[in-house]
Amino acid sequence: MRKAAILLLIATMSMSLTACWSNREVNDIAIVSAIGIDQGNNGNIRLSLQLAVPLLIGTGSSQGGAGTTKLADTSGWVVSEEGATVMETYRSIQQKLPRQIFFSHSRVIIVGHSMAESGVSQVLDFFERYRESQMKSYFAVSATTASDVLNYLPKFERLSSEVIFEELKRRVLPTVRLVDFLNALQSEGVEPFAPILEITASENGESPYKNLVISGSAVFKEDKMIGKLDDNEARGLHWVLDTVKEGVVTIEIEEGRRKGRISAELEKVNVSRKMKIGESGKMEVRLHADVSANIYENTSDMDLEISENTKSVIDLFKKQIENRITGSIQKVQRELQSDIFGFGQSIYRRYPLTWKKSYREQWDTLFSEMETKIDVDVRVLRNGLTNKTIKISDSEVEQK
C-alpha cells in the first residue's frame, strides 16, 4: 500500500514538475513587432504584420552570407492577408508561417488612412481582448496605407517599427497609446486623435532617400477620422493637452538695425486649464501656460543684456505661443468640430451636475461655441553661452 502510494506520488510529480505544458521557445515563435490594418476589397480588412527575423537582427550586413545580404537591409518581414475580421486574418497568416505568431512584443498599431476614415472601432476590439496584445502599444494613422509604413526601410534601425516607436516615444507631436485612444473613444466630452505617420523625402525636393516622420494629427469623431491637423496645428494641440516636453519657439525681430530671428528651446512647459460657466450658460475655457525657455539662437542684433529688450522679446514669445494655441483651437472648433482637447470632459470633471443637466446631450454643437482665453507666462532662464550677438564690423570702419 505504502509502496503503491510512493510510486503514484513519483509518477504524478514527474508528470507535473516537468512543467511548461504550453512552452514556446524563441525558435518556435514569430515575433510581431508592428501591426498594420488597411481596408481591403469588399469590406474586408487587410492585416499586415511586421515580423522580426531574429537571425538578421544581430548580424551586420558585412557578415551576412550570400543568402542574407539582400534581406539584411531590414530584419523585418511584412506579411499580409485579407479577411473579414482581425482574428480570421491572423489565423490565415498563421497558416502560411512555420512559426507561431507572437503578439506580446508588438509596440505599434498602425491604421491606414482609408481605414481610419471608415471607422476603427471594429478592428481595435481584438487588440483589447486578446491576451497577448498590449494596451500600451502606440496607435497611429498612416498618411497612405499601413503597409507602406511597415515596409519602409529605415536607415538608423533594423526595423521600421523601432523607428516609429522611438519617434512616437519622443513626443515631438502629440501621440497616443492604444489605451488612451480607447478611453477617449468611449468617454463622453472627449474625442480621440492619433498621430499621422508619413513617408517623406529626407531632403527637400526629390531625394532617393526616404524618411518616416510624424506629420500631424488625425482628428476623429467617434471612431471615424474626419480631418487632420498639420504640423503646426498639432503642436498647438500638444500645448493644449499639456504634453509638451521639448520644442523650439522662434520669433521674428523687426526692430533694430538688423532684422532677424530669435529661437528659444523650451525647458519646462506647464499648461493648466480652468473651466468657467458664465451667467448666460456660456462656457469659457481659460488656459494658462507657464513656460521656461532658454535662448540659444539670436540672428538679430538685439542686445539681450538690456532688460527692456528681454521684456519685449518675452512679449513676442508670448504672442507667438498664443497664436499657435489659438490657431489650433480655432481650426478644431470651427472646421472639424470634434472635441479632441477634452474640454467637455474637463467641464464634466469640474461641474458634473451642470454637465449632466444641460451640456451632455448637445455637446457636439456647444463645443464649437465655446470661448477660449489664453494667457502665457514666459521666463527666459538662460541666454546660452554668450549674451552678445555676433557683430559685423561696420561700426569699426566708422571709428577709423
Partner: protein
C-alpha cells in the same frame, strides 16, 4: 489541540479577503468611484466581521456549525448547520473555476484547464492534510510577500508615469446610486460575508485576548488595499477600460513601461496564486471542520479529502462560459444565497442569543 498565533490569523484573514478580487477589479460597477465603494464596503465589512466575532464570543467560543444546534435545538438546528459546509464547498468550487479560467488566459494558455484545477487542488489538499497551522504559517509568510509585490508594482508604475489621477474626477460624478449598488450586496458579501468562515478558524487561535483588534485590523488592511488597487487601476487605465477589462489588475500591470521592466504580469500571477491558494484552503478547511462535527468523526483528514473531491466535481460541472460564471457571482449568488446565509441567519442567531440566555436562566 492545534493552535495558531494571532498574527497568523491576521495574515490568513487579510489574504482571504484580498482573494481573487485583487485581480477581478472589486466593485467595478461603480466605475471610477470603485475605490469609494470598496472603502465603504470595507467599513461595513469590518462591522460585519466583528458581529460574527461577537457571536463567537457570546456563545462561549462555539464554532459556526455549533451555533445552530445550540440555539435552535437538534431538529431545526442541524439542517441549518448543514447548509454551511455545502455552501463552503460550492464557494471553493468557484475558486477552482476562477483558477481554471484565469490561468489559461494569462500564462498557461494551452494547458487543459482540468489539469490546472487538479494540480492546484492537489497542492491545497496536501497542505491541508498538514493541518490549519501549516496553512496559517504559510499565510504569515505570504502576507509580507504580497505587500512587497504591491509596493514594487506601485513604484514601478508610478515611475513610468502610468497614473493620471485626473481620471478619478469627478468624484461621485454619477451620484451615489451606482456606488451603493456596488456596495450592496456584492461588495459587502463577497469577501467580507465569506469571512464568516473565520468563526471556525478563531477557535484555533491560542490567545483569544485582543482577537477583535487583530480581526478588525486584518479586515481594514485587506479592504483598503483593495480600494487602493481600484484607485490605481482607474487612474492608470481610465474609467472605460477599467470597466471593460475583465482583469483590470493584469491590464494595469501590462502598462508599465520602464526600459527593462516591461511586463509585470509575473506579479499578477503571484497575487493570483497566493490568494487563490489561501482562499481555497480556508474554504475547504472550514467545510471539513463542519463536516467532521456534523458526521461526528474524529479526524479532519478524511473530511478534507471528501470536501475537496466534492468541490472538484462541482467545479468541473458548474461552468460552461466564464461570462456566465462572473454573472452568477454578480447577480445571483449574493442575493439568493449569501445574503440569507451570511446576514439573515447570523442575524437571527444574534437576536436569539439573549432569548436563549433568558430561557437558560429560567431553568436554573
Amino acid at each position: 489541540m492545534t493552535q495558531i498565533s494571532k498574527y497568523e490569523m491576521f495574515a490568513l484573514l487579510a489574504l482571504f479577503q484580498l482573494g481573487t478580487t485583487l485581480i477581478f477589479g472589486f466593485s467595478s460597477d461603480a466605475g471610477r468611484d470603485a475605490w469609494i465603494a470598496s472603502g465603504i464596503s470595507t467599513l461595513f465589512g469590518a462591522g460585519l466581521v466583528l458581529i460574527y466575532l461577537f457571536i463567537f464570543k457570546a456563545t462561549g467560543g462555539l464554532t459556526l456549525v455549533e451555533w445552530f444546534p445550540w440555539i435552535f435545538g437538534k431538529w431545526l438546528g442541524t439542517p441549518l448547520a448543514w447548509l454551511f459546509p455545502l455552501l463552503f464547498i460550492y464557494n471553493a468550487a468557484r475558486i477552482i473555476s476562477d483558477v481554471r479560467f484565469l490561468f489559461p488566459v494569462t500564462i498557461l494558455n494551452r494547458t487543459p484547464d482540468w489539469i490546472i484545477g487538479f494540480t492546484f487542488l492537489g497542492v491545497v489538499i496536501y497542505a491541508l492534510l498538514g493541518g490549519i497551522e501549516v496553512i496559517a504559517r504559510l499565510a504569515g509568510f505570504f502576507l509580507p510577500l504580497i505587500y512587497i509585490s504591491i509596493m514594487l508594482e506601485v513604484t514601478l508604475l508610478a515611475s513610468s508615469g502610468t497614473f493620471h489621477f485626473a481620471n478619478l474626477l469627478p468624484v461621485v460624478g454619477e451620484g451615489w446610486g451606482r456606488i451603493w449598488k456596488a456596495v450592496w450586496p456584492l461588495g459587502l458579501m463577497q469577501t467580507f460575508g465569506e469571512s464568516i468562515e473565520f468563526a471556525i478558524i478563531w477557535s484555533y487561535v491560542g490567545q483569544k485576548k485582543g482577537l477583535a483588534l487583530w480581526t478588525a485590523g486584518g479586515t481594514l488592511l485587506a479592504g483598503f488595499s483593495i480600494a487602493l488597487m481600484d484607485l490605481l487601476a482607474v487612474s492608470g487605465l481610465g474609467e472605460m477600460a477599467f470597466q471593460q477589462m475583465m482583469y483590470p489588475a493584469f491590464a494595469l500591470l501590462k502598462l508599465s513601461n520602464i526600459n527593462y521592466f516591461d511586463n509585470l504580469d509575473a506579479i499578477g500571477i503571484i497575487y493570483l496564486v497566493v490568494n487563490a491558494f489561501i482562499k481555497m484552503s480556508v474554504h475547504l478547511f472550514s467545510a471539513a471542520v463542519c463536516l467532521r462535527y456534523l458526521i461526528g468523526g474524529k479526524s479532519e483528514k478524511p473530511m478534507v479529502v471528501t470536501a475537496s473531491l466534492m468541490a472538484l466535481f462541482v467545479s468541473m460541472t458548474m461552468v460552461i462560459s466564464f461570462t456566465e460564471h462572473l454573472q452568477v457571482a454578480k447577480q445571483i449568488i449574493p442575493y439568493h444565497v449569501w445574503v440569507p446565509m451570511f446576514l439573515v441567519l447570523p442575524g437571527i442567531v444574534l437576536l436569539a442569543l439573549p432569548v436563549r440566555k433568558w430561557i437558560a436562566g429560567l431553568k436554573t
